[in-house]
């Protein structure tokens, strides 16, 4: 078995009496899509915040590319190549789509930020940004103000910004939310191919997409992982059926 790109070991996080994460251990291997599913309030967002650096776990550790990053701030993890997309879009809403994508390219380039040369006329930044926009199908909207995009398009832009970072792993928080059937289908197709570039830790509510995409699934209920396995294994798992999938499965 190859070494995982990203792994958590015994992550625990409480808010007062609420255990949002309890001994969460999971890993993300090269070339796979690992989906985390669970009912609302299961602690998915808390888990992502700990992995990406917004929240510090009470116990446990996070390894990325073989390094312990538990104490690293978000931006250090981002510079190592951990790209995150947000559930509620965290984009610069007053800026254009191209400006948002360029921002990602800027982070990926590293080094000092220029003070005088316009960002959008710098070839390398522009090309990286446009390529990412083309890949998610937003190239036609490059000059649109982000606030004018539909929810689905904002999701696409979130993914595009993540792409510009040329990451080693993606952490995606509900990339299909707010998309219509058609958009959701296209995004599914896109993510399907993306796993070969970098593995994806996917939190998603759209079960069709999850079952179509995931190589492995982890089921999170009340902060605990109650099962991890392939789609078939999870479908067959009795605990999961009672706890989560219910009548659906």
């Amino acid at each position: 078995m190859t070494d995982p790109v990203l792994a958590t070991h015994g992550l625990t996080k409480s808010f007062g009496a609420v255990r949002a994460s309890e001994d969460v251990s999971l890993d993300l291997r090269p070339g796979e899509i690992h989906a985390v599913i669970g009912p609302n309030g299961a602690g998915k967002s808390t888990l992502i915040a700990q992995i990406c650096g917004g929240l510090t776990p009470d116990a446990g550790r996070i390894e990325f590319l073989g390094r312990d990053v538990t104490a690293q701030p978000t931006r250090a993890r981002a510079r190592m190549g951990l790209a995150r997309t947000f559930q509620i879009s965290a984009l610069a809403m007053e800026d254009t789509v191209l400006q948002n994508a360029t921002l990602g390219a800027l982070g990926a380039r590293g080094g000092a930020l220029g003070l005088l040369r316009p960002a959008l006329s710098q070839r390398d930044l522009h090309d990286t940004a446009m390529t990412a926009l083309e890949r998610v199908g937003l190239a036609d909207h490059a000059a649109t103000i982000t606030a004018e995009l539909s929810h689905g398009q904002r999701r696409q832009l979130e993914v595009a910004v993540a792409l510009t970072l040329r990451p080693r792993a993606f952490v995606m928080d509900e990339p299909m939310a707010g998309m219509g059937t058609e958009g959701s289908r296209r995004m599914t197709g896109f993510l399907d191919g993306l796993r070969d570039e970098a593995p994806i830790l996917l939190v998603e509510h759209d079960m069709d997409a999850v079952f179509a995409l995931a190589d492995r699934l982890s089921v999170l209920v009340y902060g605990r992982i109650i099962a991890t396995g392939t789609v078939e294994e999870i479908r067959a798992n009795r605990d999961v059926r009672t706890a989560y999938l219910g009548d659906e499965a």
Partner: protein
């Protein structure tokens, strides 16, 4: 050319035309008014980098304005009394040279902004407003209680400082200097806003989490913006002191901070020429209404209220419509 660009150009040309006309008909007072507009607009351009681009509501920019003023006052007062600033460990003498004074003001204000910013930027929102206000007031009371440089009475400089090749005592020539510096600062601000730094700073204002997840530090971006902002306001302070040939603790007062912010709100927050429009409007009103009543600020307050309620983009926003994204 967008409408905003046309308005900006008209503003700049207007600011040139009024003193040019005043010079032709020999009205030195009007030239001085225009010079005040240029200098206060420059202070506003400084604050606008923190406020408009960075979203940092600093109510302590008088600190930098005052530091610039005192940089001029201290250097020039030593030069006019022929006493060195200090003798040990090395000799520093006063100077009457504007370029040297400007550099000192820029540097001193930048340094102060670095210290004040590093502490204040750990807070945000109302706390940031309060802590910057507190720093400004600290410097205000310090300047009052520092007898070596005039204390409460301030410092008078008898002859305006010199600029190589120009007669700075001629109002129109001094105006030209201030106008050139304002134009330079506006150019710099325009470039900065479009540069990678400006893009990232602007994004940090709208979505700090995003900036963090692409590997940049919102804190460092804001601190750098605060330092640049403070330095420009400091330069304006040095010019303001030179215009009046007088520097006093009022330059440090919170009313001064408020006034600079009023220029921006009147003109349009985040609009490149907002401070120019705001300062021009403020000085014009002060001149016209101030002659009618001592209580002209009531009318200014009313105007400010109307702008905040009905014209969030200030005068520029009202004339140019909503902000057009940079290309």
């Amino acid at each position: 050319m967008t409408r905003e660009k046309i308005i900006n150009t008209a503003l700049l040309l207007g600011l040139l035309a009024v003193p040019a006309w005043a010079w032709a008909v020999d009205e030195p007072f009007t030239i001085t008014l225009a010079t005040r507009v240029a200098i206060l607009a420059l202070a506003g351009v400084g604050l606008n980098i923190a406020l408009g681009l960075g979203g940092l509501v600093s109510l302590g920019h008088a600190a930098f304005f005052g530091i610039g003023g005192y940089a001029m006052g201290i250097l020039a007062s030593h030069a006019q009394s022929y006493t060195p600033l200090m003798e040990t460990p090395f000799l520093i003498e006063g100077t009457k040279s504007m370029p040297v004074i400007w550099l000192t003001a820029l540097f001193a204000a930048a340094l102060a902004a670095l210290v004040i910013g590093a502490l204040s930027l750990r807070t945000s929102g109302v706390y940031f407003i309060m802590i910057t206000l507190a720093f400004g007031q600290m410097l205000y009371f310090f300047s009052i209680s520092w007898p070596a440089y005039g204390g409460e009475d301030g410092l008078s400089i008898y002859v305006r400082n010199g600029f190589p090749g120009l007669n700075t005592l001629d109002p129109i020539q001094f105006f030209a200097i201030c106008f050139a510096l304002l134009a330079g600062a506006l150019w710099f601000n325009a470039r900065l806003a479009r540069a990678p730094f400006g893009l990232a700073l602007n994004a940090a204002r709208q979505s700090p989490a995003r900036v963090e997840t692409i590997g940049l530090s919102p804190f460092r971006l804001r601190l750098a913006a605060f330092v640049i902002s403070g330095a420009i306001t400091g330069l304006a302070g040095a010019l303001f002191a030179d215009l009046n040939r007088f520097v006093s603790p009022t330059m440090f007062s919170w009313q001064m901070s408020g006034e600079i912010m009023v220029f921006i709100i009147l003109g349009g927050v985040g609009r490149l020429y907002g401070p120019v429009a705001g300062a021009a409007l403020f000085i014009t009103l002060e001149h016209l209404l101030g002659g009618l009543s001592e209580f002209w600020l009531i009318w200014l307050g009313l105007l400010l209220l109307l702008v905040v309620l009905f014209a969030r983009g200030g005068v520029i926003g009202l004339l140019a419509g909503r902000q057009v994204a940079h290309d």
